[in-house]
Symmetry: C2
Subunit: 545 residues, 2 copies
């Protein structure tokens, strides 16, 4: 599997926007390429109209920085697309470039985060940190988006139900599918249908059969072998078809069903599958009609398996009203359990998969239903409701001097300077405010009141006293080395659940959440004000000359 | 760049859903794995509420089939996730598997296609063609969707404007971004910002500068070198800053602008870029204020370039009302051209990039504007309006016998049997009907009337006479070999435009298009009826036994 691992472990440095190279050359030409510069990565709005997001993609960014370098072939290609007048020495410069001068500080992967908070700080030579922009955005944007989407599905589903990701066929190609599997697992999904994701990331994989398997059978003559050996006792093979037929008659009688409506091909498919996997029997039962055929065939085969000492697993429903059907199916399972005294029928699971959206998942939780496992594909991986996160990467400091983009649209203005981010926690252990301050300011102290300026609140100050303070960002990469251990998907998944656990329910509500406060320290607030004020006076160079 | 090429040229066979393997084992266990089977790939609704789609992804499917085989490592992983009772001989079988028994017939890449028409027919041993399902869907779904989306943007933009794809940072990770670049180019985009896509697929790349470049400068002192040598004539370097300052005064005078509002940092950025790329000057002019600063700075630098014999390229607008601003900007260009007698100012281009959607593109076409190049990112690559296509892969024949899924939802029923698809063309050269017939039926003849049954029309027959008939599907892969040449992105792009050209405008309308007719031949229609009728009688095996 080297090829797939490779694209994830070595995202090529050409996977960026052309203008990064034209800018890098202009910096180089002006002798500015080595100037120390700092960029920040953040997003402006929590996705899906929610109150939070999850930060993900760091792992891939660390690998990208570590492997960042241009091959001769890369450089030759750049020579062919940059203007002919480009100084050849620039290509020599590119050929020798790496991230040994870059330091990445970042929120840890899997942390709950909020709009406007700097998630990553990338410091290093101006030309290099500029070149990294698009690749880092590409690696963080979708990972964080789909991870947050998964967390919302997890919240909508409640903690009891198991969630299966099955979106590969709807993702943006092979790597889109792998990224989706990885980050939805991190966001709270339990299982994936994507075998390659299981292979690469250790995510538990699941899946049994599709409708095509059922429709590929037409008659019992296609079932082969036709026998099974009981788990214990008699070592002679049992005629499993006859055994099942007997059970089918009894099931039909118990339920008052019409044998004429039962599909022979479906029964053949179930028999054949059960003979292949007597301990893993979980067929899809809606290829024809659940009530008239699929459920009856399932019960007959499952009862025959039980008689031989096997333990059938359950059924999958893939169309129609999943809630109602699951209740009907569970009712039949209980009837069989009682009537035939087969307690294994009390622990059968019901899997539901039918174009599940966040909304239908939430409705599922409100209506009576008996669904144990929910499979989600399209709406999960494509993030239908908001298919992009909109992270941006903004310059905040050059040569130690703060930089700010002052836009006519105040929302598009940036916050200048190198920063620290502190998460302030209340006496009940819930985070209640993220404080963005200048990096050189002292750390806020627990129990000590401080004044700050919440963003989006018209410059009014508030005074607050945190019960605890944690520093949100850590050094993740410096001098060419990953300095914070790369986390496995399972570790990050645990971190996500922990981080979500402490968040107050009012911010986790899927509908109309209360917005979490992000505030600037007094010093940072003053710096913004000064730069804004200064900017209206600093441009009279034309008059002065 | 081997790694990225690899994931595209060798999609691993584990990149599929788990149930493909459990089904393959069940087939193998029942001795059915070598049975000849045929699957069809199609979608049920044209995307984006439109009247057509484009078929794309074939190229990647051909490469996938050619390289399909399991490594020892793959097989060991499968052994660890399949139930412990799985017969070890099955893993030997997998280890030796390839697509030498598979034949792919398909619509050519880049063809205009419609809902319900079989786009691909995959024939081969049952277990193998089952295993291919998810990978083929993954490769076709997003490619076709984003290609169709690009074609709609192309239609909305009109033929004159150049279109630039710049969605890498919003795509589903690195490979999502590459897939988007490739297939939006095929769908009609002219340029991409994605350098790796240029490298791999030969797509022209474009891009000049971001706001960060502008905000990284604060004063003219940062401009270095400060001189330029004229294109012809005097070989002595000219003080380019003084030259530009002179022009800036004249421009301010001409336009009655206030020099005090001009941003020195922005001028420094433009000067520095122009000195680096005197023949490729195209700055982003809205970092502060277009009218009060960016446009004036551009004109001054561009006029200075013209004086030295260079040819400035144009400007980029990235915020606000692009139409209005482009008109204002063009007006200023014309004033400069007239007043200073600089004809180069008549051919400056204006690039617009600001969260363009299909709708805003269409509006752009209705309002007065002067935008020559439009850059599109998020809405193009994420296909915001409908982020998945919904292709499905259905079994239509096993051992020469037609197979049909008869669903309670008639739309989810499939059309059985191995088929041929003919595109019928009217006397004006427009396709008007796609005829789906059984593969063994004679080909319809031009000028000869035929009876067929349009889908979705309550079984009523129509009689039609085609002026021309083309067979839509061709053999693309057989006996382990690609039998239809792999097309370059440029070739397929030309094919798309040709295919769209012949489509009648009524089907191409972006809003409320007239739906294109897809019909079954009389024989196929009858087969469907027979199977439906038969299906209600063939299930009395229980009674009979």
């Amino acid at each position: 599997m080297a090829p797939v691992r490779s694209i994830r472990e070595r995202v090529p440095p050409l996977l960026t926007d052309m203008y990064q190279f034209t800018m890098a050359y202009a910096y180089w030409r002006a002798g500015r390429h080595q100037e120390p510069a700092v960029f920040e990565l953040f997003f402006r709005h929590n996705p899906f109209g929610g109150g939070f997001s999850l930060f993900a993609g760091l792992h891939d960014c660390q690998l990208f920085l570590r492997s960042f370098s241009f091959t001769d072939e890369d450089v030759e290609f750049l020579r062919s697309v940059l203007p002919p007048a480009t100084d050849p020495a620039f290509f020599q410069f590119l050929r020798g470039l790496d991230c040994s001068g870059v330091t990445l500080r970042s929120v840890p992967e899997g942390t709950v985060v909020f709009a406007r908070v700097p998630l990553m700080e990338v410091a290093g030579p101006l030309a290099v940190v500029q070149l990294l922009e698009t690749s880092l955005l590409c690696l963080v944007n979708y990972a964080s988006l789909v991870c947050s989407n998964a967390a919302r599905f997890r919240l909508a589903a409640g903690p009891r139900r198991k969630l299966l990701e099955m979106g590969l066929r709807r993702a943006q190609g092979p790597d889109g599918g792998l990224t989706a599997s990885r980050y939805t697992h991190i966001g709270g999904f339990d299982l994936t249908s994507n075998v390659q994701a299981g292979f690469l990331f250790g995510i538990p994989v699941a899946g049994t059969m599709a409708h095509s398997y059922v429709t590929s059978f037409t008659s019992l003559e296609e079932v082969w072998p036709q026998t099974l050996v009981a788990v214990s006792g008699d070592p002679d093979p049992v005629d499993f078809i006859s055994l099942t037929k007997g059970w089918l008659s009894r099931v039909c009688e118990l339920l008052g069903a019409e044998p004429a409506k039962i599909r022979e091909g479906e029964l053949a498919a179930f028999l054949s599958y059960a003979i292949a996997y007597p301990q893993n029997f979980l067929p899809v039962i809606d290829s024809y009609s659940v009530g008239c055929s699929g459920l009856l065939n399932f019960c007959a085969v499952a009862l025959a398996l039980c008689e031989l000492g096997f333990r059938p697993v359950g059924v999958r429903l893939d169309s129609g009203d999943l809630c109602r059907q699951s209740v009907d199916v569970r009712h039949v399972f209980r009837l069989c359990s009682d009537h035939f005294s087969i307690p294994a029928f009390d622990s059968l699971i019901i899997v539901g998969t039918n174009n599940i959206s966040e909304q239908s998942m939430a409705e599922l939780n409100k209506k009576e239903n008996e669904i144990d496992v929910v499979g989600v594909g399209t709406h999960l991986v494509t993030c239908t409701r908001q298919p992009s996160l909109g992270c941006v990467y903004k310059l905040v400091e050059v040569r130690g001097r703060p930089r700010m983009k002052i836009s006519e649209d105040p929302e598009k203005s940036t916050v200048p300077g190198r920063k620290a981010v502190y998460r302030l926690v209340d006496t009940e252990g819930h985070p209640f405010l993220d404080l963005v301050s200048l990096a050189l300011e002292p750390r806020p102290e627990a129990g000590v009141p401080l004044t700050c300026f919440p963003l989006g609140c018209d410059n009014s100050a508030v005074s607050i006293t945190p019960a605890q303070v944690t520093c949100l960002c850590q050094e993740m990469f410096t001098k060419g080395q990953v300095t914070h251990p790369l986390c496995s998907a399972a570790e990050t998944r645990a971190k996500v659940q922990g981080s979500l656990q402490t968040l107050h329910p009012r911010h986790k509500r899927l509908q109309e959440p209360e917005s979490y406060t992000v505030a600037l320290s007094e010093k940072l607030h003053n710096l913004v004000r000064e730069i804004r004020r200064g900017s209206s006076n600093d441009s009279n160079f034309l008059l002065a000359n």
